[in-house]
Symmetry: C2
Subunit: 332 residues, 2 copies
Amino acid sequence: MRALVLEAQDQPLVVREVPTPEPGPGQARVRLKAAALNHRDVFILRGQYAAIRHPAILGSDGVGVVESTGPGTVVPVGLRVVVQPSLDWGDDLRFQGSRYRILGMPDDGTFAEAIVLPEGNLVAAPAHLDDASAGALPLAWLTAWRALVTRATLRPGERVLVTGIGGGVAQAALLLATAYGARVWVTSGDDAKIARAVELGACGGARYDQPDWGGRLVREAGGPFDVIVDGAGGEGFGQLVRALGMGGRLAFYGGTDGRWPALLPQFLFFKQVSLLATTMGSPVEFAHMVAFVAEHQLRPVVDRVFPLAEGAAAFARLESGAQFGKVVLDLT
Amino acid sequence: MRALVLEAQDQPLVVREVPTPEPGPGQARVRLKAAALNHRDVFILRGQYAAIRHPAILGSDGVGVVESTGPGTVVPVGLRVVVQPSLDWGDDLRFQGSRYRILGMPDDGTFAEAIVLPEGNLVAAPAHLDDASAGALPLAWLTAWRALVTRATLRPGERVLVTGIGGGVAQAALLLATAYGARVWVTSGDDAKIARAVELGACGGARYDQPDWGGRLVREAGGPFDVIVDGAGGEGFGQLVRALGMGGRLAFYGGTDGRWPALLPQFLFFKQVSLLATTMGSPVEFAHMVAFVAEHQLRPVVDRVFPLAEGAAAFARLESGAQFGKVVLDLT
């Protein structure tokens, strides 16, 4: 089979012929159709990740069709599935165990024509999604689901703020929260992205590079936020904390802007706020997320689809920051 | 009746004869026996609190006996009660409503021979507690209960760290968590207070004025902490965050040491930690706390009891920081 191979750190990704893996007991081989890129893949490419090995096939997302199964495997051949990217989460749903990995490093990932996975990592793909959309679902939507539903315990009618709406997790959070019956505001450094978010259902937004954007959003929303989902951190985190209302929950899954400012606890405890760290999610949350997406006919935003042979161009698109939505590889 | 009256900011508290209040519908008058001081009272004395009025009777804690009731009040005359210090919490148990006040400012508090309260603020006093101990229970133990049980969802067998063990909330957290089946470590600036905490059930402790106290506690405890209760904040908060284990919950109710350091979100989200702001608690939590104290025969630590006439000396004792346990006024 062909795969996009990372042969060494900071080397260009190259398409190589590699052996097609065979499924063992409890495993299945999926003929992949599409897989989205994530920032995690870029961090690995740049050596900014723990325990990197080479050569490696990256990729945590994917959709495809089961084409062969190992002994004792019960998933039917021919089923169209999305890949659940948590491996060995462990027994405690509150947090991952010590053997936990995200698919795509160190285990070979989805940027290939096929992959072998435990059948527990294969979930029937929502029928309303085409391959590009379904292949964009797993990591970003699982992260957004856990942040919003498990961690921030979102309720219908609440006011939600999602930062950095150009990102895949942020867009998933916008669409999930809107379908949940919440009203959602967003931030971006780009007016066009805010306008796109409003088309997707956001009530409004603010440029995070302009003064007092947090206060302006609170005024625009008619009150402080019940739930905030943030992947940026940095100095802006201080505005987020001030924009939280009584009992507000702020779930954070990233920190691309670095350290939070030095926060004064007195500004937090009277409001009974919760600052909730979160990363990706468990298989149980994945199943709930996919069922919710199917029920509400939600659709990941796809920025552009690149053929496998143009994997390097796909990475360049993701790193440019110009995209709105997921950058997807066509693996057919 | 006699009361300890704050006539103006930064004035010495004076014992004055004031009118004995009469209970209205749904209210009862309690002949008070004892009431503990809280740091909140000191903050008010120093003008470091919102919406201070003068003259005022401070005091959020108290125990006494119902001596008269208003029309329609059902609490029996003669019942020995502790005072529940949350007024108008509101309908949402997750956080207080806009009309919420803590007893003792602006409403007249318990540093008096009697008080009139809504009967919903009176809870039968645990029989095993003498007046000084029962009068020390309300604010500190309610704060500790909400921090540990409601906010941090403590489970038996977990490792708990309580900072600043000289304080009333910290001691309540130590005793509650131990009775809950948790193992508890503490911090203090004073070896003698750590030794006292060990007598009360702590597994060990560390001086927060010595290097790497957080790391040393983790090694001593045999692993990172599941739950941390903190009222200090400040630079030491960085050590607390590092001492949190996977899925760890840190409930904070104060910030006497000021701002947290600038935290890097990347050190938090992989661990799925929760930073949980909390302040005092609701009437429902108070009822659960008192029932738990009665069932487990727990006993607030009393440092010293002062007669009402020596109220100023009692405040000086609290402000000295030398005490271990609650400073209590004898109101009989």
